[in-house]
Subunit: 413 residues, 2 copies
């Protein structure tokens, strides 16, 4: 049987209380999709037999593979075994081999636990046991009437351990062949609707599925080729998209803009410093999220007060008095001062009003000036961002990285 559609049911009242986030669903989804499966839906239900069974009923006609995560522990509220068995009209039985293995493991660790732990040796009648390499609750694989049911424990390391040891290969054999082609195209600094406008004529065809994913000052375009036909069709399509996006495209695939900028600096053996006011260190934080960033990132100045701008970066106090700390002259002086004092090839500066207070009619909240100083001079842009304080900081850092990227593209190669 070749399976194409997968549904995931996450069991756990704590996931619905808002206290815990289900990370298993996204983790499994990414892997299943890479194998070529389509994840048709994910449902989170409480620790309740009828809720689990309602979820199974909901997905039965929508999916070929139903994965249920969680609810396989030892306590009274772990009811996934009972729910799935009941729904399939089967019994819950003890797996003698797994029980012996649990007993041996407890003995080896010198542990004596309450008898309830052996609930974890119980499985749906007829299930194949998928041994748990890091915990006591095994996974279960049940094939019935054209469907595969997979039960996995909720703790992420256990679920991941079972998946990697016993599930991935098994699922790969059921996956659609060949897996569909897809690409993630990442852009920065252009609104969602403009990106859509540029690509929709290219993508308006029946063998392509696409979606647009906006983030703070960035837009991702995800394109999947579902059609039959020659691979060259896909390659041509990709080439047309690259041309349509031009320099606004900063990466193909799951690569951050800070990694792209970092790679360019490393390739050119150039160095970078930052000077931040309203972002308070976020730009440096993002740059240093890239492993190995110490190769090119030397230092950052968080010049939050006016005095710090003067003292740390040599900004002219008269410029602050005349134009304000949030202004083009100050942004330029911050970038140039950082570059000069750090002795780096490049420096990026951000000064702005992140809010919620501090705005004026001339400089409302969201006014941000960004300057990039480099070997070929200093450039500047003024932005008017919207949103919360954190969102204005996010957009500022993103655009600072994007302006640096564009400068590196323009000056390099």
């Amino acid at each position: 049987m070749q399976a194409k559609r997968v549904a995931i049911i996450a069991v756990g009242t704590e996931l619905l209380d808002g206290g815990r986030v289900d990370t298993n669903g996204p983790w499994l989804s990414a892997r299943l999709r890479a194998l070529g499966f389509t994840v048709v839906g994910r449902l989170v239900v409480p620790d309740d037999v009828s809720a689990i069974q309602a979820g199974l009923a909901f997905f039965r006609d929508r999916a070929d593979v139903l994965i249920v995560t969680g609810g396989l522990g030892p306590t009274h509220d772990d009811v996934t075994r009972e729910a799935v068995a009941g729904w399939l009209g089967r019994a819950v039985v003890e797996d003698a081999d797994w029980r012996r293995r649990m007993e041996a493991d407890l003995a080896a660790r010198g542990l004596s636990l309450p008898p309830m732990v052996f609930r974890m040796a119980q499985v749906v009648e007829g299930a194949e046991v998928l041994p748990n390499p890091v915990g006591a609750a095994p996974g279960q694989w049940i094939e019935v009437g054209g469907h595969v049911y997979i039960l996995l424990p909720g703790p992420p390391p256990e679920l991941q351990g079972i998946y990697q040891a016993h599930l991935e290969e098994r699922l790969r054999r059921r996956a659609p062949q060949p897996p569909p082609k897809s690409v993630l195209l990442r852009t920065s600094g252009v609104p969602e609707s403009r990106i859509a406008e540029r690509v929709q004529a290219i993508l308006d065809r029946s063998d392509v599925a696409w979606s647009i994913l906006p983030g703070p000052a960035r837009v991702d375009l995800e394109v999947r080729w579902t059609g039959p036909g020659d691979e060259s069709v896909w390659e041509q399509l990709l080439e047309r998209l690259r041309q349509a996006l031009g320099e606004d495209l900063y990466a193909e695939g799951d690569v951050s803009i800070e990694a792209v900028v970092g790679q360019r600096l490393r390739d050119r053996r150039q160095t970078l410093a930052t000077a931040e006011s309203c972002t308070g260190g976020l730009l440096g934080h993002r740059i240093t999220n890239v492993p190995g960033s110490s190769d090119y990132y030397m230092r950052g100045y968080v010049a939050y007060s006016n005095e710090a701008k003067v003292d740390l970066l040599g900004v002219d106090p008269e410029a602050i008095r005349q134009y304000g700390a949030v202004s083009e002259p100050v942004a330029r002086q911050m970038a140039e001062g950082a570059r000069r004092r750090a002795g780096t090839d490049w420096a990026v500066a951000i000064t702005g009003i992140a809010g919620p207070t501090g705005g004026t009619p001339e400089k409302p909240v969201g006014t941000v000036h960004i300057a990039v100083a480099g070997p070929d001079g200093t450039t500047h842009r003024r932005f008017q961002f919207r949103g919360t304080r954190e969102l204005i900081k996010e957009q500022s850092a993103q655009m600072a990285l994007d302006l640096l990227r564009r400068r590196l593209v323009a000056s390099g190669e």
Copy 2:
């Protein structure tokens, strides 16, 4: 109508691809639960009209309030409006007021966008518009046959902005009365199992439900009082918990540690500087996420290279040579140098190995030294964190804030 049961449908193919994680569901769940609602289920579906409608059908008899998040943007794959309208047997119509508001906003920002943006002014016929304070797609509130349907845009800042401005009060009036008593107790620097050990004797009673939610170098304890009885029972319980947690408790309620530290500094009219190496600016970023932080946060030094540690903070090059950049003497000199050069009352310094490379047998990845310099001297702690690069940075910033908080508690009042 008093509503008790809520279901949430998150719309977005990208959420099923594993490319994006749905954070809106958990965020809403936590708030709805605090109001006294029960979240009966969450479903993630692709950008597909029939999938959204199947979700609505699934939850209709299980919930009184159905919230649909996402799919309200301008592009062809944003189909939530059409799906909900179709399912309710209504039309999709343009909201003239909202369109005018969008036009005025675009004009004010000097932007001209493709006509498709005005899809965001379309609503389900009869819907009440919930203005979006930070974006173009408004929320929608529709009451039909004993149910409330709420449509919210997917970008978290927009969803949260609408919720806070227009939904929370409205939902509070529909919530079960009285809402159950609950408290969030936030601790830092103590492992999950130790926190559990300290509180379990207090909480092991039938009228209390509780959960422990660990995060990077922090543990939240959520306690709900479900029992009947006098309010004084709850107050006594709370008091016992406060005593059990002692100084490890930094906040009651949804307050960040950076806000707690900021409030203490403001109360004392004291100032702060930061000196960061491995966190690259994350500490300054977190401090400046608090509105008004410019009252006490003056500046930060991101001394990523050794040269920057010497040049910016006056660290003795001999100390770096002898002990290494990741060492107690260097952390102390960084903190003291930052305090002296910035002229602040307090300074916090972090130097460590965030990985994934750069570790040695003596100083493995995750080795982090944190120092706090203040009016009453300098203190230091060494940590051995585990996890990814980003997780080590997160834990480092959290513990730096926690050490400063403890110093402020010890020296103050």
